[in-house]
């Protein structure tokens, strides 16, 4: 399988993840919503990494997002602070690029 085929496959799987997440969130606990979006961000960043699109600052944020994806679930207050920090860092990192 070449690079383009693999990217196409990963995108097909990502859309599947988004659709099944959307359905699940209708009746899952409210706190799962942020987890699903963090997971989606992590999966998109993994794809970007495979394509060589992440430099050091983006890699650092990806690493921190992965820490949230793979670690134990946090209390809401801690999670909110973490999300605020990640979102602000992302805003600052893309400010010079967009």
């Amino acid at each position: 399988m070449n690079h383009g085929d693999e990217l196409s496959t990963e995108l097909l799987l990502l859309v599947g993840f988004l659709l099944t997440s959307a359905r699940g969130l209708v009746d899952e606990p409210q706190s799962y919503g942020p987890s699903r979006l963090l997971e989606a961000a992590g999966r998109v960043l993994a794809l970007m990494d495979q394509q060589g699109m992440l430099d050091a600052p983006l890699q650092a944020i990806r690493s921190d997002i992965d820490e949230e994806r793979f670690g134990p679930m946090k209390d809401e207050e801690v999670l909110v602070a973490r999300l605020d920090e990640l979102a602000l860092r992302w805003t600052e990192v893309i400010a010079t690029r967009v």
Partner: protein, 173 residues
């Protein structure tokens, strides 16, 4: 590993290496799960073990609660031929509790075999049924993702015993 130590140190592992798990090891884990107590000895379960990488990739798209890519996934199914009362009946509730016992046994067996596992309850049931070709009498009630751990995660914050355990009668706190 001592049982109490296994109970104390088990973690929900969500990140795995690509190393596969042998069929013999997977069978040992399922045997451990099927050793759990079952109400009325109904054994109302079936275990569907997936280890093909392509099928696992498709499952990953249908299991939003699973972050990493495991070496294997075990679907613990309720066999409605062995628990045919409707949801809300005692028989049905007991069958679900029985599956919970099987889940814990499988998780502990995996931990003692140096594998990392995570129980998953968030998945799209129609997609799971399609990918696993489940017959109508098997309902996928729990999924267990398994593999060789990248690392042992930290434990979650636990509620103190004083908040959850009562002797003789419940005292309002």
């Amino acid at each position: 590993m001592e049982l109490l130590e296994a109970l104390r140190t088990r973690r929900s592992v969500r990140q795995w290496t690509p190393e596969p798990i042998s069929d013999q090891q997977l069978e040992r884990l399922v045997q451990a799960a099927a050793s759990a107590p079952s109400a009325g000895n109904r054994q109302p379960w079936a275990f569907v073990v997936v280890r093909e990488p392509g099928r696992i990739r498709r499952l990953r798209a249908a299991i939003p609660g699973m972050s990493g890519a495991p070496a294997a996934i075990v679907s613990i199914c309720l066999d409605r031929r062995r628990a045919d009362r409707e949801p809300g009946t005692t028989e049905y509730d007991m069958a679900l509790l029985t599956l919970g016992g099987a889940m814990q046994s499988l998780l502990l067996a995996a931990h003692t075999e140096q594998l990392g596992a995570c129980a998953l309850g968030s998945y799209h049931i129609p997609s799971i049924r399609s990918i696993l070709a489940l017959p109508e009498h098997l309902d996928p009630k729990l999924l267990i993702a398994l593999g060789h751990s990248v690392e042992q995660p930290d434990g979650p914050t636990m509620r103190p015993l004083s908040e959850i355990c009562f002797f003789e009668e419940v005292v309002a706190k």
